[in-house]
Symmetry: C2
Subunit: 159 residues, 2 copies
Amino acid sequence: EQQVVSGIAYSRDEAKITLFSIDDKPGVSASIFGPLAKAAINVDMIVQSIAGDSNKTDMTFTIPRSELPLARKILEEQSAAIGYKNLHIDEVVAKISVVGLGMRSHPGTAQIMFQTLADKGINIKVISTSEIKISVLIDEAYTELALRALHTAYDLDAA
Amino acid sequence: EQQVVSGIAYSRDEAKITLFSIDDKPGVSASIFGPLAKAAINVDMIVQSIAGDSNKTDMTFTIPRSELPLARKILEEQSAAIGYKNLHIDEVVAKISVVGLGMRSHPGTAQIMFQTLADKGINIKVISTSEIKISVLIDEAYTELALRALHTAYDLDAA
Ligand SMILES: C[C@@H](O)[C@H](N)C(=O)O
Ligand SMILES: C[C@@H](O)[C@H](N)C(=O)O
């Protein structure tokens, strides 16, 4: 069985911003990320799921913590233009990523991460995946515990 | 200005599944992806945002359309164990990805995608990003329009 996972990456430098209850219609994403891009804010993860019945959805993204004051200012200035109901900021997150290749064709790779975190009682706040990276946001307090458990689960501990 | 975007990828072979209103507590992700992994279902994108006030959140992911009957069967069998309120399936999605390098340090790259789709009136159903890929799900009917517009916007048209 070829090992598809090459390592675990993490960052404790990120802050999570969520805009709650935005309209799910063309132009809304642009109204959020346009002003942020103009201010040269470095956006890392963007996660948006579909709207339920209500035609409203939420937008979650991460930026470096150092850029939080500026981002907050911009989003507050733009609140009418964007049309969100609430702005929520979480600075106590850690981003943990399982890095590998071709993970889509290896069902179970993501599950190892989810089960490992579940076994340690670590809540997964946000998930965003690609073929080469499975990223989650968790409470920063669990960073070391998560890293140790994931290294063991993916057999990445030093031989 | 170095061109960070190398191409636009797309897939019309995917189906989107959303589980609405799952508990936001450890173990729930594992309860969804464990059974799917056991059945060797190939999960591509996974997108989950934080819970609002309600301690409930939604889980959205994509799989190959050919695997939809089996995935649906598993998720229905597991519905009590997972605890979702509704299961929603959308087979009429296309996944469009802007592919590049180091996009996190190029604020504005994602915005070009969002503004371009907005200008064409194309609604963005799901967003999931990484440093090397900005992926969205849109209605499949808009695939060619989106691809042409994005090639132009990122200056990828043949010279
Ligand atoms: C929510 C947001 O992504 C919206 N659907 C848009 O297209 O901009
Ligand atoms: C929603 C789901 O991700 C849950 N928070 C978990 O940790 O499994």
